[in-house]
């Protein structure tokens, strides 16, 4: 299994190569965060592609192994675990894309920094296809049969939006002092919180969402 045993090509933000095990760890964090976040987080297709590549290569290598090789079953078990995690992660994302389609497409349009893109290229295609299929179904079944002044369809008004004021559990990876927790409920209880490394909090999603992008915190 020479191909996959040490370092892989994928790289993190600093351009340094990451080990496969580190990418796997990142993917796991992204998966759990996605599982717990009320909305869709920025995409991590770089981790997904890297891990899919790893398990595909490993599967290829296993074909060359003798059938009786003790190692085969163990590698297969690991491949199953990783494939499950990737599938679950991408499924969670599709579910949110289908639920918040219009909201996400609108939001994506306002993001200029490629590194913060919420939808991957493939997901963007998917979202557009899904949105148009729903709208054309509405047209065929109802909208073209109703009086003219009611034929318009405003997904912004009718679409489902995520509740960004949901409470979430988070774990701090990098200490971040003085995070402003604004209180929109108008009780004038804005406050600043120091998030110390390793600490865990139950907190509203909106004020900390930017810390998920910088990976200073993860949801648990």
């Amino acid at each position: 299994m020479a191909d996959t045993e040490d370092i892989i090509e994928g790289s993190d933000d600093e351009g340094e190569p990451m080990k496969a095990s580190e990418v796997l760890q990142k993917l796991e964090e992204a998966w759990i965060t996605e599982r717990m976040s009320p909305t869709l987080e920025k995409h991590h297709s770089e981790y997904v592609d890297c891990m899919l590549d790893q398990i595909n290569q490993m599967s290829e290598n296993l074909k060359r192994c003798k059938k009786h090789d003790f190692r085969v079953a163990i590698h297969k078990m690991e491949i199953d675990r990783i494939r499950y995690m990737i599938s679950s992660y991408l499924r969670l994302r599709l579910e949110k894309i289908e639920k918040f389609t219009h909201y996400l497409l609108e939001k994506e349009r306002t993001i200029s920094d490629e590194n913060l893109a919420i939808l991957s290229e493939n997901e963007l295609e998917y979202a557009k296809g899904y949105a148009s299929s729903i709208e054309s179904h509405f047209q065929t079944m109802v909208l073209q049969h109703v009086p003219e002044n009611l034929r318009n369809f405003d997904p912004g008004k009718m679409g489902v939006k995520p509740n960004l004021d949901s409470f979430v559990f988070l774990k701090v990876k990098e200490s971040t002092p003085a995070v402003l927790i604004e209180d929109d409920s108008g009780e004038g209880r804005d406050e600043e919180v120091d998030l110390d490394e390793g600490s865990q909090h139950l907190i509203r999603y909106r004020p900390i969402s930017h810390l998920l992008n910088s990976e200073a915190v993860t949801l648990i």
Binding site: T4, I32, I74, M77, R81, D165, V168, S185, I203, R204
Partner: protein, 188 residues
């Protein structure tokens, strides 16, 4: 998160096994394991340890903390402390369940260990329940939850975050309607 997912995450925890076979190092994607030599302890991920154990290829060495004396100490500490104490293993309950199911014979005093772990869990969950009640009554807007393990957090999910979502929505609505009332007055 459902219990199968929590278990999946717990299965990543390291466990020491004593293999009865020889095998060179394995280059897993999640990191190298081995080499395996008969009679020599080696650390592996729990999912692998359990699998090897089920196939009769090793015995499992109980983790340090899986010991009646240590667990009794932990239980005392937990009952005396107002806060949650740090657990020796992030997934103590799940790891204990998995190991004790797959390898009861490898763990001395397994029955006693089971009872102690259950006691510690009960203590912590009771503590969690009362602090949740206190927290909601105090109309807190956030809480620090150091040392709570994933399964414990899961035990108040989705009830606790959902209740807070609702409380927040109420106060926001109340605020906005006050606001629009006062605005109406301004214009009149």
């Amino acid at each position: 998160m459902d219990s199968a997912e929590v278990e999946f995450l717990a299965e990543k925890s390291p466990i020491t096994i004593v293999p009865n076979f020889a095998q060179e190092k394995l280059y897993l994607i999640s990191g190298d394991v081995g080499p395996f030599n008969p009679g020599l302890p080696v650390e592996v991920p729990l999912w692998l340890g359990i699998n090897l154990r089920q196939r009769g290829k090793c015995r499992i060495v109980p983790p340090d903390w899986m010991d009646p004396e240590k667990l009794t100490e932990k239980k005392d500490e937990e009952s005396q402390s107002k806060n949650f104490t740090k657990m020796p293993c992030e997934h103590y309950l799940v790891v204990a369940q998995l190991v004790l199911t797959a390898a009861t014979e490898d763990i001395p005093n397994s029955q006693q260990i089971k009872t102690l772990i259950k006691d510690i869990w009960d203590l912590r969950v009771a503590k969690l329940r009362s602090s949740v009640a206190e927290f909601i009554q105090s109309e807190g807007t956030r809480a620090k939850l150091d040392h709570l393990t994933l399964l414990e957090i899961n035990s108040v999910r989705p009830f606790l975050p959902h209740s807070l979502d609702h409380l927040y929505r109420f106060s926001k609505t109340a605020f906005n309607s006050n606001l629009s009332q006062s605005q109406t007055q301004d214009y009149s």
